[in-house]
Amino acid sequence: MDTEAQILKPRETAPRSLGRSVLLTLPITLWSLLIFSNSYRQPNRSVEIAGIITAVFMMALFFMMMRTWSTYRWRRWFFVALGLLFPVGFIHEVMVMRGSMGIPMEEMIAGRTPFCYLPIPLLILPAALTKTVVFPGSILPGGGMSGGGMAAMAGLWLAITIVVGKGWCSYACFFGGIEEGMASVPKRAKLRKIDPRWRYGPWAVLLAMVLLSLALFEPAYCMWLCPFKAVSEYVAARNTVGMIQNGIFVVLFAGLVIVLPLLTKKRTQCAFFCPFGAFQSIFNKMSVFEVKIDPERCSPCVLCQTACPTMSLTEESIAQGKTLMSCMKCGACVDACPKHAAVWHIKGTEVAVKPERARLMLLYASWGMAVMFGGTIIAQGLATILHVFV
C-alpha cells in the first residue's frame, strides 16, 4: 500500500516541486553546458547563438519532464526540432561542399558518400561473408564528406543501442521527427482501422533489403527505398534509373512521412516500413529499460493502445502486461494511462515499484545522448538559419 501511495500521490495531485525539478535537471544542465561550450568560443556568431539556444532548449525540456512527470509531449518537441533541423543543416553542408543535393556516381566510387545509421543492418552479411563493406563511404574519419566515417557512426550507434535499445528511434533518429510532427497535427485520426499485419512491414523490408544487398553488393535500401533521400541526399539523376530512384524516394516520403501520419496520427514510416527500426527491435531485448503494464491497475481502457504511435500495444500484449518488441520507449502510453498502469520498468526489478526511478534512469541515459547527438544536429541546423540573419 505504501508503494502504491508513493507512486500515485505526486502524479495525481500536483507537479513536482520547483526546487526538486531544478535539482533533477542539474546533471543535464551541466552536460548541456559541456557539450555546447565549444560553440561559445566560436568566432561565428550564428554558431554561438545556436549553441546557446539549443542548450537552453534541451535543459528546458528536461526540466518540464521533471516538473510535469510527463515524458512524451516534451520529448516530442525535441524530436520534431531534430527532424526538421537535420535536413536544414545537412543540405546546407552538401550544397557548400558539392553545390548540389545529388551525389554523382564518381563521388560514390571515390568513397565520399556521407554515412548514416540506416544501412548498418545491410552491411553485416556482406561484411561477414566477403569481408567487404558494401557502402561507398569511408570507414575511418577524415576520408569522407561527413568527416566522421562509418566506424564512428557505427560505434556511436552501438554504444547508444546497448543502453536504450529501440529507444534510439525516439531519442536519436534524425529522421523520425518529421513524421512525428505530422502525426501530431490533426486532433483525430481520419484513418483508424489499420490492418495489424502492416506491423510486419519493417521486418519484410529488412529481410528483402539484407538479401538484395548481399546479391547486388550495394546498400539496396539506400539505392532504392529510403524515403529520407528526398530531404537529404539523392542520387544525381543523370539517367532514367536515377530518375526512377528519385521518384521512388519522393513518393515514399510524401506517402509515409507526410500523408499517412496526417491521416492516421501514427509514425507510419517507423511503424510499417523502416528496416532499421526492425533491426533495433532485436536490441530491445538487450536494453534494461522497458514499458510494462501493471495488470492490477489496468482497466483495460486501451487508451495506451490508441496513443501508441507505432502500434506496439495490442489487447493481447496488454493482457500479458507488456509491449511488443517494436516499442520505441517514447512514453506516449505511459502519459496516456489515467490509472498509471503503464509504467517504466527496469528489467530484473518488480513491476510498478518506483517506476519514476526507472523513468529517471532511462531519461538520464537517453537525454544525455540526445543532447550530445541530436542537440549538436539541432544546433547545426539553427546556425544555418541564423546565418541568414546574423
Partner: protein, 199 residues
C-alpha cells in the same frame, strides 16, 4: 547463394516449419536449378557464343527471365497466403501419416528460373562451357559447377527450425513481393533496353 538468396530465403520461410519440409523444398529448388543449368550448358555449347551474344538479345533474354521470376515470386507469395487448408483426417488417421499435400510447382519454377538467370559466376561458367570440346564436357562442367554452388545452400535447411507463425510467414510473403517488384523493374528495364546498375 548470394544471387539466389533473395528468391530462396523468403520463399523457404513462407513455407511450413520442419527440417524435412525445408530439405524437400531445397531439393526441389536445386533439382530444378540443375535442370536450368543443364539447359543453359547445352545452349551455351550448342551456340558456342551465347554469352558473347550482342548485348541487345542477351538483355532481352535476361529481361524475360527476370520478369518471369518476378511473376512466379508474386504468384507464390499470393498462393501460399490463400492456400486452402486440406480436409483434416480424424485424429486416429493422423498417426498413419496423412500429410498435407504440398505442390512442388513453386520451388521448381523458382529453381529453374534462377538456374537460367545470369549471375556473375554463372556467366563465367558459361564462357568456360562454351570453350569445351564437346557437349558432354560442357554438361559435366556445369554439373560440377552446380555441386560446388549448391553446397552453400545446405545451411539453409536450418531455416526449417525457425518456428512458423503468422508473423514469420507474412514477413516472408511481403519480402517476396518486394523482391518480385525489384526483379520486375530489372526485367522491364532490360526489355526496354535501359542501362541498369551492374549490367
Amino acid at each position: 547463394m548470394a544471387s539466389c538468396g533473395p528468391v530462396v530465403v523468403p520463399s523457404l520461410l513462407a513455407e511450413g516449419a520442419g527440417v524435412r519440409l525445408s530439405s524437400r523444398f531445397l531439393s526441389t529448388f536445386l533439382g530444378a536449378r540443375f535442370l536450368g543449368y543443364l539447359l543453359f550448358a547445352a545452349l551455351a555449347w550448342e551456340l558456342g557464343v551465347l554469352v558473347a551474344l550482342p548485348p541487345a538479345p542477351r538483355l532481352v533474354m535476361m529481361g524475360v527471365v527476370h520478369v518471369l521470376l518476378a511473376g512466379v515470386l508474386l504468384w507464390y507469395a499470393y498462393s501460399i497466403g490463400h492456400a486452402r487448408p486440406q480436409p483434416r483426417p480424424g485424429p486416429e488417421l493422423v498417426t498413419i501419416g496423412v500429410a498435407r499435400k504440398r505442390s512442388i510447382t513453386g520451388p521448381a519454377a523458382l529453381g529453374f528460373l534462377t538456374g537460367l538467370s545470369l549471375c556473375p559466376p554463372f556467366v563465367i561458367a558459361g564462357v568456360r562451357a562454351a570453350e569445351m570440346d564437346s557437349a558432354a564436357a560442357a554438361l559435366l562442367f556445369f554439373a560440377v559447377f552446380f555441386v560446388g554452388t549448391s553446397v552453400w545452400f545446405v545451411p539453409l535447411v536450418s531455416l526449417g527450425c525457425v518456428r512458423r507463425s503468422q508473423a514469420v510467414t507474412t514477413v516472408a510473403r511481403m519480402a517476396m513481393a518486394l523482391i518480385a517488384f525489384y526483379y520486375l523493374y530489372l526485367g522491364s528495364a532490360m526489355l526496354v533496353g535501359r542501362k541498369v546498375y551492374g549490367y
